[in-house]
Amino acid sequence: MFPELNNLLNTTPDQVEQGKLTLLCDAKTDGSFLVHHFLSFYLKANCKVCFVALIQSFSHYNIVGQKLGVSLTTARECGQLVFLEGLKSAVDVFFRPQEEPHPLQFLREANSGNLQPLYEFVQEALKPMDSGEAAWRCPVLLVDDLSVLLSLGVGAVAVLDFVHYCRATVCREWKGNVVALVHDSGDAEDEENDILLNGLGHQSHLILRAEGLATGFCKDVHGQLRILWRRSSQPTAQRDRSLTYQYKIQDKNVSFFAKGMSPAVL
């Protein structure tokens, strides 16, 4: 996790807000550093994490996680992390047809696809243990990323249904959190993606949007991060607070600074 981002979001691994849906979104740049941040943050906060990683392999997240101070292999072995490696499972389900329903069963279906097996996988992974002792703080579902589901033939409505079901179970019933990454296609006019993005934007409590700089590529400032807090619980509190920062990604950390205040410029 990045300490500066924790300061900006006013959270620490000791106090974790519960029952929230966080939307990560990137436009014209790569927002995967946010996924690494939340993954290491929730693992350090002693939460039970179910990570649906559809884009990259386990070792990629593991190696970056080690730079950020968490070991995914240890977390997976002791049961804190349930990792669904999308790429490997997709090869399994595609080339060797399975008998029992597989979370990525929609890959073998022709039409818009049904994400119910995936939801059942998440439910199975995060349900609180019956033993009664609270080993982990709260369940967290992390998805990287939802836009790839659209590329795999699942309709935007099916993806929204899936997120809705997960929110109802994980956020509401089990007081956990859901974090999902969606790519913003920008001017590529991807209607399905826009439906998904707008729908999730309405439902989420916190939106982190990583954008490329409007002026183009810069070596010292990699992009701009817009943080939007929505749906605060007290009606009298400020509504929809928004902050914008620029950032630079380094080897093990991301540094944030106010717009135009990059150390390279000052």
């Binding site: 790569d30 995967s32 550093f33 690494h36 990259q56 392999s57 070792s59 990629h60 190696i63 970056v64 730079k67 999308g86 790429l87 490997k88 997709a90 090869v91 595609f94 080339f95 890959l107 073998r108 279906e109 022709a110 039409n111 836009s147 790839v148 659209l150 590329s151 795999l152 033939g153 790519h183 296609s185 001017d187 590529a188 006019e189 991807d190 209607e191 399905e192 993606n193 590529f217 070596k219 990604i249 380094q250 080897d251 093990k252 991301v254």
Partner: protein
């Protein structure tokens, strides 16, 4: 990724190398292999596959794309387990060159090739590969300045003449331990190199039968056959580590030409709202899954200028790791632009993957142009146009 895991443990510290050595009951005092140009001699013997080197940034195993200039722009080379997507230029003149460079590099370094095409027979594609420039002649062909020095070096060794003989004695015609070779586009690759290499061809009209089998998933029939073919080769020859081989590990280089074109049976190039608009993206996803779990690297050329739906182009870009776009000047207004008079087109590095890392090696130079000389394909930064335009302005003023 298997390759990254084994390689990163090998290069992370010499301590791990010592541990590995002691496990094999070999003394930890191992003589390092011959120091060849460009290779990192710190790589452990466990992962010494010819034609590869670990990345200096994150220990990722890299292979050369066949063009050393492109390797440099991509941060050292193409990572094993990833896809290089070439967005074809308008008349498909220069993208087959990059495709052939990639395959020729595979032959020279002894990698196994898998060539898939719907247009040409893979055997014909292999016949047209460029000839590699041998070590002795390489510098002479590429750089005319150095030929002046060659006569000097011949004269030098009068007393120690035995040492002069040493570099020329090579067991094979081309040294494969180097990373990145130069090729002569005007010549064809020698027949014996093709015959000595191991390759598999996938020619769509041969593999696809006229009767369509029912397959529930919405993938194009041609794509399904290609995926099954690739998976079969990977599994049978052990590139995914399924059969622990006693012989040395090797890389599988996959080349797929004109993916997404109508010849593959895909309709994204002629209609905007196509029925199976996720066929290509699904194929790319499954391909990524196959590559990440095996020691292979893939090059794909896609005619993105023909794809009607911009959303699909964005999705295809997201599902590929490295994306390079070629824009040739033929038929465009840039052909007459004095700035570009020496060049044949622009090359855009649209995307570089961030694998096992938070950051990626994005080069600062964004405007790059390429030109195809008689023998070489070079990538350069076009000179700033201020000087030439200035002169024209001044001369006009004088008149």
């Amino acid at each position: 990724m298997a390759a990254a895991a084994t390689c990163s443990t090998g290069t992370r510290s010499t301590g791990s190398m010592v541990v590995a050595a002691s496990r094999n009951n070999v003394t930890s005092f191992q003589r390092r292999g011959p120091r060849t140009s460009g290779t990192d001699s710190g790589c452990s013997r466990l992962v010494s596959i010819s034609g590869t080197r670990p990345s200096v940034r994150n220990g990722q195993l890299l292979v050369s794309t066949g063009l050393p200039a492109l390797d440099q722009l991509l941060g050292g080379g193409l990572a094993v387990g990833t896809v290089l997507l070439i967005e074809e230029d308008k008349y498909n003149i220069y993208s087959p060159l990059l495709f052939k460079y990639f395959l020729a590099e595979g032959i020279v370094t002894g990698h196994t090739l898998l060539v898939a095409s719907a247009k040409e027979d893979p055997a014909d594609i292999l016949q047209e590969l460029p000839a590699p420039l041998l070590d002795d002649n390489c510098k002479k062909e590429c750089d005319e300045d150095i030929c002046n020095h060659k006569t000097e070096s011949n004269v030098k060794m009068k007393i120690a003449w035995r040492y002069q003989l040493l570099p020329k004695i090579e067991a094979r015609p081309v040294s494969s331990s180097r990373f990145g070779h130069y090729y002569d586009v005007s010549k064809r690759i020698p027949q014996e190199l093709i015959e000595a290499s191991k390759w598999h061809g996938f020619f769509l009209p041969e593999k696809i039968s006229s009767t369509l089998n029912e397959d529930p998933c919405s993938l194009n029939h041609g794509y399904i056959k290609l995926l099954q073919f690739i998976q079969n080769i990977i599994y049978k020859e052990g590139f995914d580590g399924s059969n622990p081989q006693k012989k040395q590990k090797n890389i599988l280089r996959i080349g797929i030409q004109n993916l997404g074109s109508p010849l593959w049976g895909d309709d994204i190039c002629w209609t905007e709202n196509c029925d199976s608009n996720c066929s290509l993206t699904k194929f790319l996803y499954m391909l990524r899954g196959l590559l990440r779990t095996s020691l292979s690297a893939c090059i794909i050329t896609v005619p993105t200028h023909l794809i009607q739906n911009k959303a699909i182009i964005a999705r295809v870009t997201n599902l590929s790791d490295t994306v390079v776009g070629l824009e040739s000047f033929i038929g465009s207004e840039k052909e007459t632009n004095p700035l570009y008079k020496d060049y044949h087109g622009l090359i855009h590095i649209r995307q570089i993957p961030q694998l096992n890392n938070l950051i990626c090696d994005v080069s600062d130079v964004k405007d790059l142009a390429f030109k195809l000389k008689r023998k070489l394909f070079t990538i350069e930064r076009p000179p700033a146009g201020n000087q030439s335009l200035h002169k024209e302005n001044i001369s006009l003023f004088m008149i």
